[in-house]
Structure formats: C-alpha cells, structure tokens
Symmetry: C2
C-alpha cells in the first residue's frame, strides 16, 4: 500500500505536527489551500490505508501518523536504491558523495560519523 502524491503531501504535514486537528492541517498548507472537505477525503483514504489514526477528543478528532516518517522514508529509499543502483547501497553512496555538493565541513563530519559506525562493528 502506498500513498498517492497528495496523500503524501498531507502526510508530511501531519508528520511535522505530530498530531493535529483538521483545521491545523488545512492551515499548514501553502496557498492555495485546499477545501477542508478535500483534506477530509484524503484523511479518510489514509485511514483506510492504515497510515493515519485518530483520537476522538470531544467534538472532533486529533489525527496522528500510524507510520513513522523514518520507516516510510526507508521504504521509499530502498525502492529507489533497488531500481537505480541495483540494490547496492555502497554504489549509491559513491554517487551521493560525488553528486551532492557537500561542503568540506560536511564531508569531514560525515567521515567522523562513518568512523564511529566502523567502531560499532
């Protein structure tokens, strides 16, 4: 099960807010904001897909993500890696280092990070 584009956009807003009422979500959209019924429809579809849950609070519902952003990202990312780099993260890594313009400092930091990962092994 995947999210469609507009569902994913909404999901991003929800992840950012952690938990939110419909109104907050609608407001979080950049102009032009969608009709609230549009958001309602999306939320409902996302509930069907088990991506969103809610807690009834008096009159209305407080929505929250049922899938952590990280998990979702991982899945997306693995998909990309699989298609474009033949399932080889290290192959991707070299692409990344070469193509992304990281500053010297960022590269240094990354190196440090890698070192600490190596130590963990």
């Amino acid at each position: 099960m995947t999210l469609s584009n507009s569902e994913e956009q909404l999901m991003q807003l929800l992840w950012k807010q952690e938990r939110a009422f419909m109104k907050d979500l609608v407001e979080a959209y950049p102009e032009p904001k969608p009709a609230s019924t549009t958001v309602a429809t999306l939320l409902k579809r996302m509930q069907d897909k088990k991506f969103v849950g809610y807690k009834q609070l008096g009159r209305s519902r407080e929505y929250f993500p049922m899938v952590p952003q990280k998990d979702y990202f991982s899945k997306q990312f693995k998909g990309l890696i699989k298609n474009f780099f033949n399932n080889s993260p290290s192959q991707f890594a070299s692409f990344f280092t070469e193509e992304t313009n990281l500053s010297r400092k960022e590269l240094e930091e990354l190196k440090t990070l890698i070192d600490s990962e190596i130590k963990k092994k």
Copy 2:
C-alpha cells in the same frame, strides 16, 4: 512532468537496454508480461511527456530514453531529501550511514571516497 509507476518501470527497462525495440521491452518484463499494446500505450504516453524518443528503422522504431537515468534519479532523490530531511543532504547522510547496513569494508571504501572528495575541494 513525472512518470507514473508503470511508466517508470518501463523506463527502467529502457535505461537498462539503452535502446530497444518494443519486442525487447516486452520480453524484458518479468512474468506476467504485459500485452504489447499495453507497452505501446505507455511508450506513447512517455513520448508525450518527452521521456522517450525513437528512431525509425525501416519497419519499426528503436526507442531510447531522452532523460538520463542519473538526472531522473537526482530529481527524485532531491525531492525525497527535501521532504524528509528539510533539504539537508548532510542530515540525510547521517541517516544513511546509521540505517543502511553497510559492511565494515563498504564503510572503509566510503571513507576513502570521501577523502578523495575532500581533496578535490
């Protein structure tokens, strides 16, 4: 303009082959292979979207990608980074190093790679 899922799947096949006739593309699909008319439809839509071109060779057409795989990947990837890591590649990098299970050897290689990138600066 983006590719839909099934279009992207076909695009992957085309990238792999570099240039191909319809038949080759259909054959490259895993079972169950789609009807060739399905592929034809997709190819046509992809032409409209300027993702695919072809060269008329006698009776039929040799199709080829008009968008390099790398460019396409970059765009996708940047999109992900933007949504999930607030446009910060270095933030992504740390996620990557921690979450992807690279072996010690791969990590070492990556480090070397980063070093050579640093030298370039």
